[in-house]
C-alpha cells in the first residue's frame, strides 16, 4: 500500500513525527523538574505548607509527562539505526559517544532517582527526598546538554576528520562537543523549556484564580510563573537574536529562507509577511520595512544579506515552511514577553491577583511554549535541509536501505499509537490540572486590598518565602 511512496520521504515523515511528539515532553519536563526542585527547596527553607501542596500537585503531573517522554525517547534512540543506518554508521564514532554520555550522565540519573522522588518520601525523609528531586532536575539538564551538542554538531560540524571507511571521527573532542552553534542552541532551548513550563504553570494558576482569586496554591503558581515570564521572556528574545546571528554566520541559506529573501541585497528590507514561492524564487505580497533586515542581521544600515539564489537549487532549504515557522516562534516569543510585562505592571500596582483579563490571557497562552518550541525546531531542522550533517552528508544519502512498505507500516503504527496513547496522557494531565491545588485560601479579613502598599517591598509581598523571611527577621 506504500509502494507508490518514496521510502526516504516516509522515513523523513516518521522522524519528523516522532521527534516532534517527543520534544513536547522534554520541553515540559526539563522546566517542570527544575520548578519542582525550587518548590521543594523553598519548602525546606520555609516549611510553608503551600509549597509542598503545589509540589505534590505538579509532581503527579510530572510523573505522567515524564513517562511519555521516556517511552517516546526510546523510539528515537532506535530509529537512528532502523531508518538512518548510513547516517548511523558514518556518525557513530563521533556522535555515539556524546549520546553515550547522555545515557550515562543523564538518563540513569533521572531514572535512578525518579522512583525515590515519586514514591520514597516516607522512606528517605525530606532532605534526601529533596536531593532526589534535585538529581532528577540535574539529569534533565545534563540530557539537554548532550543531545543539543549532538544536534548542534549536525548543524555546525567541527573537530572531525574522515577515516578510510568514510566515518566521521573526532580530531578534537572539545571542538566536537563545543561546536560553534552549541552554546547558543543550549541556552535557547533551556530557556524555552523554562518558559514553556512557566506558561503551563501560570495558565493553571490563572485558571484557578479565575474561579477563586484567594486560592493559595493558585497564587503561588501564578506569581512564580509570572516572574519567570517577566524575567526570562526578554532574555529569551536576546538569546534568540544571538542564535540567529550565529546561524547567519554558519548557515546563511537558512537565514535567507527564514527571512524570505531570494535575491541578495545591500540594505535588505525586513519582510514582515508575504508568501514565499520556492518555484518562482520570490516572496509574493511582501510587506516590508526597508533596510531593517540588514540592520537586524548585520547591524549595518546597508549591510549585505545573501538571498537563496546565491545557492544552487538543490542546496536550498524550503523557505515555504520555515518563513512561517520562524514567524510563529518569534510572534509567540513577543506575546510571552507582553504577558510578563503586563504581570509586572499588575504586580507593581499591587493587583496581581485582581486581574481577570491577565488570567484569561494566561490561560489562552498555556500552549504557547509548546507551539513556539515546535516552530523553532521546525525552523532550525527544516532549515538544515537538504543535509543531515550540514554541508557534508545529504539527507538522501543518510537513509537505510529499507523498503517503503516497512517504513510506511511503522509510520502508520506510530501515528495511530501516539495519537491514542499520548492523547490519553494529555487528557489525564488536563484533568489533573483542573483539580484545585488544595492549599487553602488566603485569609485577608484584615483588609481586602493590597493596592495601597506601593512601597518597594510591596512588589515582593506576593512571593511568600521572601515575605516569610522578612517577617521572621522583623
Amino acid at each position: 500500500m506504500f509502494e507508490s511512496l518514496d521510502a526516504l520521504l516516509l522515513a523523513r515523515f516518521q522522524f519528523a513525527f516522532t521527534v516532534s511528539a517527543h520534544i513536547v515532553f522534554p520541553a515540559f519536563s526539563i522546566g517542570l523538574a527544575s520548578y519542582l526542585a525550587v518548590l521543594e527547596g523553598l519548602w525546606l527553607l520555609t516549611r510553608d505548607d503551600r509549597y509542598m501542596k503545589v509540589y505534590e500537585y505538579w509532581k503527579t503531573i510530572f510523573a505522567v509527562a515524564f513517562g511519555m517522554g521516556v517511552v517516546s525517547g526510546i523510539v528515537m534512540s532506535y530509529q537512528f539505526g532502523t531508518n538512518w543506518s548510513v547516517f548511523s554508521d558514518k556518525t557513530g564514532p563521533i556522535l555515539g559517544p556524546l549520546m553515550g554520555y547522555e545515557v550515562l550522565s543523564a538518563f540513569f540519573l533521572e531514572a535512578g532517582f525518579l522512583g525515590v522522588m515519586l514514591f520514597g518520601r516516607d522512606k528517605v525523609g525530606p532532605k534526601l527526598h529533596f536531593f532526589a528531586t534535585l538529581m532528577v532536575a540535574i539529569g534533565t539538564l545534563f540530557s539537554a546538554f548532550w543531545i543539543l551538542s549532538v544536534n548542534s554538531w549536525m548543524h555546525t560540524p567541527t573537530g572531525y576528520t574522515i577515516n578510510d571507511v568514510g566515518q566521521y571521527v573526532a580530531a578534537d573532542w572539545f571542538n566536537v562537543v563545543f561546536n560553534p552553534s552549541f552554546p547558543y542552541r543550549l541556552v535557547h532551548m533551556v530557556l524555552a523549556a523554562y518558559l514553556t513550563t512557566a506558561f503551563v504553570v501560570g495558565g493553571v494558576g490563572a485558571w484557578h484564580l479565575l474561579r477563586n482569586n484567594r486560592d493559595n496554591g493558585a497564587r503561588v503558581m501564578f506569581s512564580m510563573a509570572m516572574w519567570m515570564a517577566l524575567l526570562v521572556a526578554p532574555l529569551q528574545i536576546v538569546a534568540g537574536d544571538f542564535h540567529g546571528l550565529n546561524t547567519l554566520e554558519h548557515q546563511p541559506a537558512k537565514v535567507a529562507a527564514m527571512e524570505g529573501h531570494y535575491d541578495t541585497h545591500k540594505g535588505a528590507p525586513l519582510i514582515l509577511f508575504g508568501i514565499p514561492d520556492d518555484e518562482a524564487e520570490e516572496t509574493r505580497y511582501a510587506v516590508e520595512i526597508p533596510n531593517l533586515g540588514s540592520l537586524i542581521l548585520t547591524h549595518e544600515w546597508n549591510g549585505e544579506v545573501k538571498g537563496l539564489k546565491a545557492w544552487a537549487k538543490e542546496d536550498r532549504p524550503p523557505a515555504e515552511i520555515i518563513f512561517w515557522s520562524f514567524r510563529v516562534m518569534v510572534g509567540l516569543g513577543f506575546a510571552m514577553m507582553l504577558i510578563g510585562l503586563w504581570s509586572g505592571v499588575q504586580r507593581l500596582r499591587g493587583r496581581l491577583f485582581e486581574a481577570p483579563w491577565l488570567f484569561r490571557a494566561s490561560v489562552l497562552m498555556m500552549p504557547a511554549g509548546f507551539i513556539a518550541v515546535l516552530a523553532g525546531w521546525i525552523t532550525t531542522e527544516v532549515g538544515r535541509q537538504p543535509w543531515t550533517i550540514y554541508g557534508l552528508l545529504r539527507t538522501a544519502d543518510s537513509v537505510s536501505p529499507i523498503g517503503a512498505a516497512a517504513v510506511g507500516a511503522s509510520l502508520l503504527s506510530f501515528i495511530i499509537i501516539y495519537f491514542t496513547v499520548f492523547g490519553a496522557g494529555v487528557f489525564y494531565i488536563i484533568r489533573l490540572m483542573l483539580k484545585r491545588p488544595d492549599a487553602g485560601v488566603v485569609d485577608d479579613s484584615s483588609g481586602p486590598s493590597r493596592a495601597a502598599g506601593i512601597t518597594p517591598m510591596a512588589v515582593f509581598k506576593d512571593i511568600p518565602w521572601i515575605n516569610q523571611v522578612l517577617s521572621r527577621r522583623s
Binding site: 564514532p93 553515550g100 532517582f113 499509537i417 490519553a424
Partner: protein
C-alpha cells in the same frame, strides 16, 4: 578469519555492552514478567501490589536498554547500522510494546473507567515487547547477511521456527523472573500464587533452554565446532550441570519458603544462558561475518567514552543499588501509589 584474542579497547567495550544487555534482560525481564503475569493474578488488589513492586524501578531498568542501543551506536556503529534495519519489524513491535507498558504505570492510576484499558496495555505491552526481544535474539543468533557495511537480507528473514522458539523461550524465562520477583516482594495469597507460577515457569524454562541449546549448534559450523570440538566441548558438559544446579536451587528455595533464593536462582539461569550465547558468538558481534574488531569505532572514540563509562558506571550502580535499597523488603499490599 583471525580469531586470536586481543585484550584491547574493543574487547573491553564488547564486555561492557554485553554487561548492559545482560543487566537489561535481567532487570527489565522481571518487570516485563510481572506484566505478563498481570491478568493471571487473583484480584485487583494483587495487581496493584504487583505493579507497585516494580513502579519505583522500571524506568531505571529500561535505561539499560537505551545504554545497549546508544552504546552500540557509539562503539560498534556497524552493528547498530546493520542489526537494527535487519530486525526492523520485531524492534518496532518491541518499541510499541514498551510504549504501552511504560505509560500504563501512571495512566492506570489516573482513571477509573479506563483502568481496564491500561491493565490490558500493561499486559499486552509487556507480552509484545518480550516476544519481540526473544524473536530478535533468535534472528541475531541465526546470523545476519551484511554486504558493504549494509544489511543485505530480506524483510522477513527474522521470522523462522528458531526465532519463534527463542521468542517463546524468552517469554517463559521472563515469566519465571517476574514470578520469582513477586515471591521475593510480596506476602500472603499473592505470594502463594506467585510461588505456584514460579514452579510451573521453572519447568517450562528448563525445557525451553534445552530446546534452544540443542537447536543452536546446528545453525552454523562455528557454533557446531565450538560446542563439539576439543577443548571447548568441555563447556558442553559444564554448562548443563550449572543449569541443573540453578534449577535445583530454585525449587529448593520455593519449597523452603526462602523467598529471595528463587529470584537469585532465576537470575543465575539467565546469566548462564547469556554466557552460553557469548560462547557461541565469540569473536563475532554479528554472526556470521562481523567480529568485535570489524565493528568497533576507532580507538579514539572508544577511549573517549570509556573514560566516562569508567567513572559513571560505578556511580550508576551505586545509586541504582541505593534505589533498590530504599524500596527493599516486601511491598505493602496495595503498594505506594
Amino acid at each position: 578469519m583471525e580469531t586470536v584474542f586481543h585484550f584491547d579497547l574493543a574487547f573491553v567495550w564488547a564486555g561492557l555492552i554485553a554487561f548492559a544487555i545482560l543487566a537489561y534482560v535481567v532487570l527489565d525481564g522481571f518487570d516485563l514478567g510481572v506484566g505478563i503475569l498481570f491478568p493471571l493474578l487473583d484480584n485487583d488488589r494483587d495487581r496493584d501490589t504487583a505493579m507497585n513492586s516494580v513502579s519505583p524501578v522500571w524506568d531505571g531498568n529500561e535505561t539499560w536498554l537505551v545504554l545497549g542501543g546508544g552504546g552500540l551506536y557509539a562503539v560498534f556503529p556497524l552493528v547498530y547500522a546493520t542489526v537494527l534495519p535487519a530486525l526492523y519489524a520485531p524492534l518496532t513491535a518491541m518499541l510499541i510494546g514498551l510504549i504501552f507498558r511504560g505509560v500504563s504505570f501512571e495512566f492506570r492510576w489516573r482513571t477509573n473507567r479506563g483502568r481496564f484499558l491500561w491493565d490490558w496495555g500493561f499486559f499486552g505491552g509487556s507480552l509484545l515487547a518480550t516476544l519481540a526481544q526473544g524473536i530478535a535474539l533468535g534472528a541475531l543468533v541465526q546470523g545476519i547477511n551484511i554486504v558493504d557495511r549494509q544489511y543485505a537480507g530480506g524483510w522477513w528473514d527474522w521470522l523462522t521456527p528458531f526465532s519463534l522458539l527463542t521468542g517463546a523461550a524468552l517469554l517463559v524465562g521472563y515469566v519465571l523472573l517476574g514470578a520469582t520477583w513477586l515471591v521475593m516482594k510480596t506476602t500472603g495469597p499473592l505470594n502463594d500464587t506467585a510461588r505456584a507460577f514460579a514452579g510451573r515457569a521453572g519447568l517450562i524454562t528448563l525445557i525451553a533452554i534445552a530446546a534452544v541449546s540443542v537447536g543452536t549448534p546446528f545453525l552454523n559450523e562455528v557454533y557446531l565446532h565450538r560446542w563439539f570440538d576439543w577443548p571447548t566441548v568441555v563447556l558442553s558438559l559444564i554448562m548443563p550441570l550449572l543449569v541443573m544446579i540453578c534449577v535445583w536451587s530454585l525449587y529448593r528455595g520455593l519449597r523452603l519458603h526462602r523467598d529471595t533464593q528463587p529470584f537469585l536462582s532465576a537470575i543465575s539461569l539467565f546469566i548462564l544462558c547469556f554466557i552460553g550465547i557469548g560462547i557461541s558468538f565469540y569473536p563475532y558481534m554479528v554472526p556470521p561475518s562481523v567480529t568485535i574488531w570489524d565493528a568497533a569505532s576507532p580507538d579514539d572514540s572508544l577511549a573517549f567514552l570509556l573514560v566516562g563509562a569508567g567513572i559513571l558506571i560505578p556511580i550508576i550502580l551505586g545509586y541504582t543499588a541505593y534505589a533498590y535499597w530504599v524500596f527493599r523488603g516486601k511491598v505493602p499490599p496495595g503498594g505506594y501509589h
